[in-house]
């Protein structure tokens, strides 16, 4: 083994440090009381007129008859509404600054199988995209690696913090698995700058090779766990297999990107056969396999909704109606933009589903509490309940409506200034003589 033990030790120390990080120690700010607001808790019916108290970064009290502590900074919010911060379940925020400037993009490592790559360590806390995104009420995002077949480990971050450690809510939430598609036909090959034909047979062969490789990796991991347990001292670590341990143990899901029915079905067969947890990401045709998804209890990260139908003969509104179909089938889903600079438009992806039949309440849940449940952090974020992190936005209207504005914003109890690169440029040039 050529990988050095020192490196492993460092990696283990870092990951140990992360997983045991204490959230409560993160913020010790002022006490806030948001009063006379409508409070849309997502944990029961909205409180029409009530107060939210924020202390030590967390929600200390919420309700219609809450007494305001004497040391609290009071925010008068009559006519405003408090919502939980929204969660975008797929972005590359912090990993991508400017899409076409390669030096600013850290999403895609070389190689096909990179389960050991960790997004969290490459999150750039000073990215201009962070304030821009959170100013529309999005307080947490999944940021994830891209490319290859196993891209690496996605991270759940809050959109505020001095360092990536402070931003991390859950440093590794799953391993991104771009399911090899059976898509065949003409494609443009950038290596040769020519159109190439990919036959069905070739697509299938390539897919099967990749699946075999992952099967082997998972088998190796199972053997590796035994070997590791058996030989404690002179054991040679393997970073790739280490990364897959929580997957084979069922502690960490594979975040499987697949759009087409046959790819989704095949992915479900594969993960069932391997007895690993799966979250479906994308899922354009998830509605065609909704009952299977329900049966296997596989949640779906749906989106981008604002996209064209896959096929010419699909109804023009196909992407807008998928969410309702999943709801009717009892499949749990959350929304994702798959974007970075435009992630602030997350609520409008959900809104389009409401326009085409999804109940508004469900759309809001799929932006807040459902993703929190899917990512295993429902005890921390996703609703306004005592003890949860104070990730809140105070709106002057319906957050799904474009014309509504965020009036106050809190992340981990910190009052976030409503400023970004965009507001600053606006102020500067508005005042150009």
């Amino acid at each position: 083994m050529r990988r050095s033990q020192t490196l492993l030790l460092m990696a283990l120390l870092v990951s140990f440090g992360l997983t045991t990080m204490r959230f409560s120690s993160a913020a010790q700010g002022p006490v806030y009381a948001i009063k006379n607001a409508q409070i849309v808790t997502m944990a029961g019916p909205p409180i029409e007129r009530g107060t939210v108290v924020i202390r030590n970064g967390r929600i200390a009290a919420v309700g219609a008859n809450v007494s305001i502590p004497g040391n609290a900074q009071v925010i008068e919010a009559a006519g405003l509404a408090v919502y939980p911060g929204m969660i975008d379940s797929h972005t590359s925020i912090g990993l991508t600054e400017i899409g076409q400037v390669r030096a600013t993009v850290d999403t895609t490592e070389l190689g096909e199988f990179n389960p050991h790559m960790r997004a969290i360590v490459a999150v750039h806390p000073a990215s201009e995209l962070i304030p821009v995104t959170r100013l529309n009420g999005i307080t947490s995002v999944i940021t994830r690696p891209a490319g290859g077949t196993l891209s690496g480990q996605a991270a759940l971050i809050n959109l505020d913090g001095w360092t990536w450690e402070e931003m991390a809510l859950k440093p590794s939430v799953g391993i991104v698995f771009n399911y090899p598609s059976l898509r065949s036909g003409r494609f443009f090959d950038f290596n040769t700058f020519e159109f190439q034909e990919r036959s069905f047979e070739r697509a299938k062969r390539e897919r099967d090779e990749k699946l075999d490789k992952i099967r082997k990796l998972l088998d190796d991991t199972r053997a590796y766990i035994k070997a590791k347990e058996a030989r404690s001292r002179s054991f040679n670590p393997d970073h790739v297999l280490e990364a897959l341990i929580p997957v084979v143990k069922g502690d960490m899901p594979l975040i499987v990107s697949a759009e087409r029915q046959r790819d989704i079905t095949s992915a479900i067969e594969f993960t069932s056969e391997q007895k690993v947890k799966m979250i479906l990401s994308g899922g354009d045709e998830a509605w065609k396999v909704a009952s299977l998804l329900k049966e296997k209890n596989i949640p779906v990260l749906l989106g981008p909704i604002l996209s064209l139908p896959n096929d010419e003969d699909e109804p023009y509104d196909q992407p807008f109606t998928t969410a309702k179909k999943l709801l009717d089938a009892g499949v749990k889903f959350a929304f994702q933009t798959g974007d970075s600079s435009n992630a602030r438009n997350l609520p409008y992806h959900a809104a389009m589903c409401v326009a085409f039949g999804l109940p508004r309440e469900e759309a809001l849940k799929a932006l807040t509490i459902y993703p929190a449940q899917i990512w295993g952090v429902a005890d921390q974020i996703g609703s306004i309940e005592v003890g949860k992190l104070a990730n809140l936005a105070v709106w002057d209207g319906d957050p799904l409506e474009i014309r509504s504005q965020v009036k106050h914003l809190f992340i981990k109890g910190r009052s976030i200034p409503l400023k970004s690169k965009h507001t600053e440029l606006y102020e500067r040039y508005r005042n150009r003589p």
Binding site: I98, G185, F200, L306, D313, S341, N342, A355, I402, L425
Partner: protein, 474 residues
């Protein structure tokens, strides 16, 4: 076999043409839309308003219009009617040829030669309320080709989609795309001039200089012929590239210039002023807010994205306040899509100018209706609900700036081209047809597997009937 297909498709096109002209002759239909909230854009909003359509035009707008005897009445209680939305920057309906990415000056190529009336994105955008679109070449070249302004008359031929009498235009492009910053040359080819913004300015200056000389030669020739019709003086050699640029210099061809940064916007303003013409629109114009004063003084329009930014370095200072800021400083602003997908909700793009920069609802709606109509010089025909204008209208289920509103009906020239109910009603039938075709294919080619490579679209005749059909039969 291919021959037979050709014959068949020609026959079908003939049938379609007959059908559509039959539709046109019935456009003396009289339609009354009543009980709607009518957002005229230019003359305020009418509660419980009515619109009378006759001969494809808006015949009357008001509160208490009575239905003429022969009129078809559409009750729009609780609904909103707006003018058809206009997309000032689109690449739909192009059958290849978005970019003639070879020379840096390609003012000889024309979108009208590659219009594909069967592109399904025409129907999808129509279903989002777009009735007119400015179809442009890509931005690979400092000077690109001729645009085509079209109406989204789904089901008609390419020729019938052209917006009659719309002034011709041409695409210019500045910045990263014409200097090819983000593209590697294809293997075995060398980089292309220009590679800098300096080079882009020179490329345009050189072409315009050439065109000015060409124009002078033609003027001189015409002067001599006029003086002496029997003169044997030879005409200058015809140059299609310079013909178009001469039209630009004479102000007869509108320049739609793709740009991002403030410096390049100012550069083109000064260059145009030096050559004595006006830029019609700056497209994208993401840093327009930094030089709004200069754009307004020059008199150019600005057609921007609502909120895209940071996809490349020249878009890093793009802000969603751009539209509102330019509008407040006196620039004629529109929002465009540049995307078949985004074009399906131009009304919601407009709403972003209310959120970012505080435009009023009416000002916002103007960004996707009357303002782009003015920029394309077609505002006498479209862009607002006024008597005498084309009956290009959208019926929304609610306020057009609300995310919960959907497009229910779209009229172009008074004809119903999109009807959501009709669309939904046809779905089961289409699905059945698809399954039948699949079965037939399986029987014909039992050895073939699903997912075989699709044939090159260029070798097959266009589909005989567009799916789904316009709801014009109502």
């Amino acid at each position: 076999m291919k021959q037979i297909h050709r014959v068949a498709s020609v026959f079908l096109i003939l049938v379609m043409t007959t059908l559509t002209s039959a539709q046109q002759s019935s456009s003396s239909d009289v339609v009354l839309i009543q009980n709607a909230t009518v957002m005229t854009v230019t003359n305020g909003t009418i509660q419980n308003g009515s619109i009378l359509i006759r001969d494809g035009k808006i015949a009357a707008v008001g509160k208490n219009l009575r239905a003429p005897a022969q009129a078809r009445v559409i009750d729009a209680t609780g609904k909103f009617v707006t003018p058809g939305l206009i997309d000032c920057h689109s690449h739909i309906a192009i059958d290849g040829g978005v970019n003639e990415g070879t020379l840096s000056v390609t003012s000889m190529v024309r979108i009208q030669d590659v219009l594909d009336p069967t592109d399904i994105n025409i129907y999808r955008d129509l279903a989002g309320g777009v009735t007119t679109a400015n179809i442009l070449h890509g931005s690979a070249n400092a000077i690109g080709g001729h645009n085509a302004v079209i109406k989204l008359r789904w089901g008609k031929s390419a020729k019938e989609m052209i917006f009659e009498g719309a002034p011709p235009g041409i695409k210019f492009a500045l910045g990263e795309n014409p200097k090819r910053s983000n593209f590697n040359p294809a293997p075995g080819t060398s980089p292309r001039f220009p590679a800098t913004r300096m080079g882009v300015e020179f490329t345009i200056r050189e072409a315009l200089t050439e065109a000015r000389e060409y124009m002078r030669q033609w003027d001189e020739y015409r002067r001599q012929i006029a003086q002496n019709p029997k003169s044997d003086v030879l005409p200058p050699k015809r140059d299609l590239k310079l013909d178009a640029l001469a039209e630009v210099l004479r102000g007869e061809r509108l320049v739609h210039a793709h740009c991002y940064r403030a410096d390049e916007i100012l550069m083109l303003i000064r260059l145009a002023e030096e050559f004595g013409f006006k830029i019609a629109t700056f497209q994208h114009v993401l840093e327009g807010y930094k030089v709004a004063k200069e754009i307004a003084a020059h008199g150019a329009g600005a057609s921007s994205f609502s909120d895209w930014w940071a996809f490349k370095i020249e878009a890093y200072d793009a802000i969603p306040y751009n539209g509102a800021l330019m509008a407040r400083k006196g620039v004629l602003v529109s929002f465009n899509s540049d995307s078949a997908e985004l074009a399906r909700r131009m009304n919601l793009e407009a709403a972003k100018a209310v959120k970012y920069g505080g435009l009023s609802d009416d000002e916002a709606l103007a960004l996707v209706t009357i303002n782009p109509a003015k920029q394309l010089r077609i505002d006498k025909r479209v862009g607002s609900i006024e008597v005498g204008k084309d009956a290009d209208l959208v019926i929304f289920s609610g306020h057009p700036l609300s995310v919960y509103s959907i497009v229910e009906k779209v009229f172009i020239d008074g004809q119903l081209y999109f009807d959501r109910q009709a669309d939904i009603a046809r779905r089961a039938e289409l699905e059945k047809e698809k399954q039948t075709l699949k079965q037939q294919l399986k029987q014909e080619r039992p050895g073939q597997r699903e997912g075989r490579p699709e044939p090159d679209r260029r070798d097959v005749p266009p589909p005989p009937t567009p799916t789904p059909q316009p709801g014009g039969e109502q």
